[in-house]
């Protein structure tokens, strides 16, 4: 019986490996979101990050205080509320999917982080598609701006 319970626990744990942590920040939601997404603020708690394009497919590199370099690709953004990304350390074949949410909590802001393990191979296609999608977003925006400038010149 104990063995059965142990086996169920092992199977259940292995089939849904994830870690969740949370913190309550004594600031409003807008400030909490800024702390979570502004590169200048990220440097204070996550690591040195260049610009983080807050859109699906946006890619960035994080250098953590211990020197670990992580590559990050944004998967989901709900402005001011939720951010989802996959990230992996240089040379590591394991990647993780991270979901960060911010919610109002007694006049403060509660930040919840969930990280789940995924094999790099299983996200390679998605990551590649996200990057391609992001590249085309940029190209189409350039095309739109170019067409607008031509219209203005014609006027």
């Amino acid at each position: 019986m104990v063995g059965d319970i142990c086996n169920r626990k092992v199977a259940s744990t292995l089939a849904s490996v994830h870690v969740t942590r949370d913190v309550v920040l004594d600031v409003d939601l807008a400030t909490a979101w800024e702390l979570l997404t502004d590169p200048a603020e990220l440097a204070a708690w996550l690591g040195t990050v260049g610009d983080v394009p807050l859109r699906p497919g946006g890619a960035a590199t994080v250098v953590e205080p211990d020197g670990t370099v992580r590559h990050l690709v944004v998967e989901h953004v709900e402005d001011g509320r939720a951010l989802g990304f996959v990230w992996w350390a240089d040379g590591d074949e394991l990647a993780s999917r991270v979901a960060i949410t911010v919610e109002e909590h007694d006049g403060a802001s509660r930040v919840v982080v969930t990280e789940s393990a995924v094999a790099r191979a299983s996200i390679a296609g998605a990551t590649s598609r996200l990057r391609l999608g992001s590249a085309w977003d940029g190209r189409l925006l350039d095309l739109e701006l170019h067409s607008l400038s031509r219209t203005l010149v014609a006027v």
Binding site: C6, N7, R8, K9, V10, A11, S12, T13, L14, A15, S16, V17, H18, V19, R21, D22, V23, L25, D26, V27, T31, A32, L35, L36, E41, A44, W45, L46, G91, D92, E93, L94, S96, V111, V113, E115, A117, V118, A119, A121, S122
Partner: protein, 112 residues
């Protein structure tokens, strides 16, 4: 890559497929169990179950035992070690980051 990292990589690579996760849960709940019995409860063929079980066995997550003409599969609890190590490491990292975030938020509140 260390042997520990490699073990974790194998575990998570084996679990990347949701069907494999469902098979692992079936083995955990009903093992020792045959591939035929697992296939009877899942929308996959016995052949597919056998392939997934082979991947799980290669990753050290299940072990096969022959009983007469049958091969039965059971969970290997030791496989939990790699997952637990990964969870402990990730948990510690987020505790450190969120503590730093909280400190930064206090400074931001004072600056406001």
């Amino acid at each position: 890559m260390s042997a520990r990292d490699d073990a974790a990589r194998q575990v998570f690579a084996a679990l990347a497929d949701p069907t494999r996760g469902a098979i692992l849960r079936a083995v955990g709940q009903r093992g020792p169990i045959t591939a035929t019995a697992i296939a009877a409860d899942l929308p996959v063929t016995r052949q597919a179950v056998v392939k997934h079980l082979a991947a799980l066995e290669a990753a050290g997550l299940v072990e096969a035992t022959r009983q007469g003409r049958e091969v039965r599969f059971a969970i290997r609890p030791a496989a939990l070690d790699a997952a637990q190590r990964w969870m402990a490491g990730v948990g510690r990292a987020w505790e450190r980051r969120l503590a730093a975030l909280e400190q930064r938020s206090r400074r931001a509140r004072l600056e406001a």
